[in-house]
């Protein structure tokens, strides 16, 4: 049988084997969803979908779950986790929006305006940013950014203005969003650069021949042609931003609080918590049945968000198909 393996395979057997192996990945994803959903089921059973809404004291609810006995009564499963969803969306959306703008500008710089020597330095440097581990980003956050903002940027009166609700000590929305943006921008730069450089130069040259300057030619011709890639970049960066756990845990302030935009500037200094950072914070308590279901419910929500982003990106790219330049 061994030389049956060694002889060249007929194409149909090869196709079937390769297809089966590829399907394994799909099976893996399905298994992941099923496992996580099964463990998250009690939260849905006791709360329906209203656990996504605000209401009540989230910290009290989580503490009840931590301290619950082995067979918790139904009341323990009560959960209203909106502050976490709000925190995740807030940090994620702001970071992606900021990052997209910066990434677009940086990509235009790299593809069009950077001299060749500078381009040779910039590309590896930005790729390095993408591969720095999140624990190092978190360390730089708590060692440098948080003390700086807490001690030199936030004024005492700002701290006093919210002191009965939360405390402002540097951790919070601003540091989380800044570091998150730095983390996801390189991913977007890479994808957008690749797309911009694969648009035929002749298109830009045509525009310039008509009298448009280089920047306008980029913005009017090349960038729209790269729209599918920009959408893909935003989707990938968004997924990464939603799921970032370790870094956010260190710099977000770790309080079950929803920052209020109506607070003005103070809004940027208020602490928050995201779904992923809560999973890491409480991953100790994964033995308490109610807390375990809650953490798995958060994980299911994150998984669902990644799926939605994927599908959403695909749908947004559909009408842009006619601009696809890659074979």
């Amino acid at each position: 049988m061994l030389d049956r393996l060694r002889r060249p395979w007929p194409d149909d057997r090869a196709e079937r084997t390769l297809g089966a192996v590829s399907l394994l990945i799909f099976v893996c994803v399905v298994a992941m969803v099923v496992f996580v959903a099964l463990r998250a089921w009690p939260i849905f059973a006791h709360n329906g979908l209203s656990w996504l809404l605000p209401g009540g004291d989230l910290h009290g609810q989580i503490t009840n779950m931590v301290n619950a006995p082995a067979n918790p009564p139904p009341a323990v499963y009560h959960l209203r986790a909106w502050p976490l969803i709000y925190g995740t969306l807030l940090s994620g959306v702001i970071a992606v929006a900021l990052g997209l703008g910066i990434a677009l500008l940086a990509s235009i710089f790299i593809v069009e305006f950077a001299p060749a020597s500078l381009r040779r330095i910039t590309i590896p440097t930005i790729r390095l940013l993408a591969s720095v581990p999140s624990v190092i980003y978190g360390l730089i956050g708590i060692l440098v950014l948080v003390p700086f903002i807490g001690n030199h940027v936030i004024s005492a009166s700002e701290k006093a203005s919210v002191q009965t609700l939360v405390q402002l000590n540097g951790t919070g929305v601003l540091v989380s969003v800044v570091i998150l943006t730095v983390m996801i921008t390189p991913i977007m730069v890479a994808l957008i650069c690749e797309a911009l450089s694969s648009v035929p130069v002749s298109w830009r040259e045509g525009a310039m021949a008509l009298g448009v300057n280089r920047l306008r030619a980029m913005l009017a011709v090349t960038v729209p042609a790269a729209r599918p890639a920009i959408v893909a970049a935003a989707v990938l960066a968004g997924a990464r931003a939603l799921g970032e756990a370790v870094m956010i845990q260190m710099v977000s302030g770790s309080v079950f609080f929803s920052p209020k935009p109506t607070d003005g500037v103070v809004f940027f200094f208020e602490p928050l918590r995201t779904l992923a950072s809560t999973i890491i914070d409480y991953n100790d308590g994964v033995g308490a049945p109610a807390l375990r279901s809650a953490l798995y419910a958060f994980a299911l929500l994150l998984l669902f968000a990644a799926l939605t982003l994927s599908v959403g990106g695909y749908l947004v790219k559909l009408p842009l198909r006619k601009y696809q330049t890659r074979g």
């Binding site: 609700l165 405390q167 890491i280 991953n283 033995g287 308490a288």
Partner: protein
Amino acid sequence: MNRIRRIAAAFTVVGVLGIAAPAVASATSLITISGATASYPLVSLLAAKYVKTHPHKVKFKITQGGAQIGINDVAAGRVTIGDVSRDPLPTDPPGLDFYPIARYAICVVTNKSNPLSNLTAAQLLSIFTGKTRTWSGVPGATATGTIDLISRTSVAGVLTNFQTLLLGGKKVAEPLAAEEASEGLLKQQVENDPNSIGFLSNYQADSGGVNSVGFNGVGCTIANAVSAQYAGVARFYEVTKGPVLGAARSFISWVDHSKAAQKIISSQWIPVT
């Protein structure tokens, strides 16, 4: 075809041997421990000393994860001993035996620029429950402005003990206080924020960088803890499912009785008795 059969047979033999062999060939028993990060330094030192003084008898595998993970692992039979840094709770799984091996003190800490030397029980309670919000309401503090409360997540054993021992059973104000996931993060926050106040095990508080605050006139030192003057003294437990047997039993009784173990414990922690 023969070649495939021979290779498959060889793999099966190696596989079976690999899984069966440990059961047959282990003259040394393996003690697996998981649990609290606070007691990890102590238990690692004790285990290392035990292996040195009892060579070829036992192997240790000590992992961390948190006191609650220790309880869950030992209840589910995943480890032999669980490290726990808090007293048993009524919500713990049934059938667990708690063996105290050492004690530690919980110190209230402030930033180095705020050399607060003492807090009464009433003052501490009012600060941590959020009644006093500015340092101007705390005599003896040089800091000004809002008090930044730094606490731990609800799964932390040190938090449970702090609330029971130093806050008289009351809870830390939430969502006011920041819930740090580890002693390291709590210490980092207190080190960087001049207006902060928090609580750490004495091992962390004594390693420098923060100011230790006395409680009811008694400083948070090992001497005061040994003489039972300091109120905030909690226990480290080794937890087993059912009464401890075999190699684990020898280890725990060595920790309780041998001079070498007590010497290690007294160096930075407090002996049980």
